[in-house]
């Protein structure tokens, strides 16, 4: 904002804050976004960031290798806490993925223009988060090479999966989610891959993008079917995304463990998933727009809207916490009442209070316009919410498992070095994939930005 303009929070600016900076044409949006991939030299910052992320990915590889050699005993899990970090991290990563689908599918159906410049990398984020999530249940089986037992295939032993088990539902929900997210992302990429094919100068790039674009030529007949398919995918992904975290919450809610066996779990898991996902989108978007000068495409309007979605879903989550607490007390079930006491006063109480602080209290700052328009505050807030949502899953998994029905079955849980190494390693994998994605594919949908230019031009006339 240069001097002489009205102050940031004047009603005028609020109204005018655009989804696209002024003065862009079809050609200039194409040039600006594709140049990040095609012509701009890779910056030193990219190499440094990639090197850090890649070494963490290496740490993950070592941690998983060691796990395969030694077994799950290298983790802090032991009866009664069989789940530990693996499930906490699984639920956390899957939840993060949800914002990508929400942005690309639900906001598309609602015709929200501001989704355009953030949907591509949010979808990529979904894919990478699902990939990170998928690692955990797989290695948590202890013998990941036996994971194919969960697939329904005609084995010579005549065995079939138990379709009444939420864990098998999970296999189907997460793999369907991964597949549909990949399809959605790829379909969105096809026209942009054609753009990269036509604009790249180097022969290898031309060949690779050309093969991926599959000969897309922007024919009106193709667009006609493409739009139908895209709309259908959005319509399919919307109930899918709601179902995935519902099924994840069934892993808990179907069990009779105190603190898990509640009907509020599905909606509050879905809200929490979107909450943490939007936080992660902000965590990625803020450095991305800064590093590549995309402030005209990912404008304050986007950040502001995402902060509002965070605030709204955060309030739903707060409602969930309150009713979890209230229903336990009100039920009079002594195990449930005891569990609430354990959350408030037990050995893991600091985690519970930290969770309340991160997920409920801090985000209330987002009610204020100035906070929503302060990029630094938003960035820190997004990280706070990510930590809070991780703590939520930790509290759910660990407190319930360490304090169930009889004191003789109580226990304590603390993660080991290998637990942390695997968790931080998946973050390395996530960031590595994000870095590679930003480098080789357009992080913003070029075709949809052109549409936005066309719509903006129409509005002006």
């Amino acid at each position: 904002m240069s001097a002489g303009q009205p102050p940031l929070d004047s009603p005028e600016i609020r109204r005018l804050s655009p989804v696209l900076g002024p003065g862009y044409t079809y050609g200039s949006v194409t040039e600006k976004i594709s140049s990040i991939v095609l012509t701009r030299p890779t910056s030193l910052g990219w190499f440094i960031g990639f090197a850090i992320a890649f070494s963490l990915l290496g740490l993950m590889t070592v941690a998983i290798g060691w796990l395969i050699i030694k077994g799950v005993g290298i983790w802090g899990i032991n009866i009664p806490i069989g789940w530990g970090f693996a499930i906490v991290n699984f639920v956390w990563w899957i939840g993060i993925g949800h914002a990508g689908t929400l942005i690309s599918a639900i906001l598309f159906l609602l015709n929200q223009k501001w989704r355009t410049s953030i949907n591509r990398f949010a979808e990529a984020m979904t894919l990478f988060a699902v990939a990170c999530a998928g690692i955990f249940p797989l290695i948590h089986t202890g013998r990941p090479w036996m994971a194919f037992y969960m697939a329904p295939y005609p084995s010579t032993m005549g065995l079939w999966p138990q379709f009444r088990s939420p864990l098998i539902w999970d296999v189907f929900a997460v793999s369907t989610y991964g597949t549909v997210s990949l399809l959605f992302w790829f379909v969105g990429l096809i026209p942009d891959l054609a753009t990269l094919r036509d604009r790249s100068i180097k022969k290898p790039a031309k060949i690779v993008y050309g093969m991926l674009a599959m000969g897309w030529r922007g024919s009106a007949r193709h667009w006609h079917r493409y739009q139908s398919a895209y709309l259908l995918l959005a319509g399919l992904a919307t109930p899918l995304v709601l179902s995935v975290h519902t099924v994840v919450s069934f892993d808990f809610a179907i069990a009779i463990v105190p603190g898990w066996h509640t009907t509020i779990f599905p909606p509050y898991f879905v809200a929490g998933a979107i909450y943490s996902g939007f936080a992660m989108v902000l965590t990625i978007a803020i450095p991305l727009r800064k590093a590549y000068g995309l402030e005209d495409f990912i404008t304050m309007r986007h950040l502001d809207n995402m902060a509002k979605v965070m605030l709204a879903t955060g309030l739903i989550v707060a409602y969930g916490y309150f009713f979890e607490f209230f229903m336990s007390e009100y039920s009079g079930n002594k195990f449930d009442v005891f569990l609430v006491q354990q959350r408030l006063h037990g050995p893991y109480a600091p985690f519970y209070y930290a969770l309340i602080l991160c997920n409920i209290l801090t985000p209330q700052l987002l009610w204020f316009y100035k906070m929503r328009h302060n990029v630094a505050v938003l960035f820190i807030m997004s990280i706070v919410v990510n930590i809070g949502m991780w703590l939520e899953r930790f509290v759910i998994v660990v407190i319930s498992l360490t304090r169930d029905f009889v004191p003789s079955a109580w226990g304590r849980y603390s993660p080991t070095f290998w637990d942390w190494a695997t968790f931080i390693g998946t973050m390395g994998m996530f960031v590595t994939l994000i870095f590679l994605f930003v480098r080789v594919l357009p992080a913003i949908s070029i075709a949809e930005m052109r549409e936005l230019v066309a719509e903006t031009n129409e509005e002006k006339q």
């Binding site: 044409t25 329904p152 597949t179 753009t195 030529r217 193709h222 667009w223 995918l233 899918l240 099924v247």
Partner: protein, 180 residues
């Protein structure tokens, strides 16, 4: 001037969506039917201008969804009741509510896969080469220009007349598309 049988069509270039739609409408009014337009993003109203009717993507998607859902449910039924029945405290083998989550997921999976692959198949993609790529300026069709092509298969097709029509419609560049 290329011989007619070596020509795929005549192509004109436009720089705005309004010009594109206007030109497409006029070409259709002139009686040409084998006409196609190319644009870097889906243009509203272009499908109507070209006289495109409803496409088959949605019915294919519906069939895929039905196949996924019905197949998914009856597969679970077959596993739980016929192939691998487990008597757990005398509970019914066909415990259908427990089969709903997987049925739902497979419905979505079937519908999504058939929507995408159905769309690609109807579009005849992947198709590595197409005559329109022979036009050097056609690389702009994926960034900032709009193209209309009157195809040689049209019974009314005549190279000079088509070129003249495109000229009247103020096309920026008019080129013959060689068919190789």
């Amino acid at each position: 001037m290329l011989h007619r049988s070596h020509i795929y069509g005549v192509m004109g270039e436009f720089s705005t969506t309004e010009e594109l739609i206007h030109a497409t409408e006029k070409i259709r009014e002139a009686g040409y039917r084998r006409v196609n337009a190319y644009s870097p993003f889906p243009v509203e109203g272009l499908a109507e201008a070209l006289g495109l009717k409803r496409n088959m993507v949605a019915p294919i998607c519906l069939l895929g969804g039905l196949a996924g859902g019905l197949g998914g449910f009856f597969f679970q039924y077959w596993v739980a009741v016929i192939a691998y029945p487990q008597n757990i405290a005398g509970r019914p083998l066909n415990s259908w509510p427990a089969f709903i989550p997987v049925t739902f997921e497979l419905t979505i999976l079937g519908a999504a896969l058939s929507a995408v692959f159905g769309m690609l198949a109807l579009n005849k993609l992947p198709q590595p080469h197409h005559p329109v790529f022979n036009v050097p300026r056609f690389t702009h069709a994926s960034s900032d220009r709009f193209f209309v092509c009157i195809e040689a298969k049209d019974p009314k097709f005549h190279t000079e007349e088509c070129a003249r029509l495109l000229q009247q419609l103020h096309a920026h560049h008019i080129s013959e598309v060689p068919d190789d």
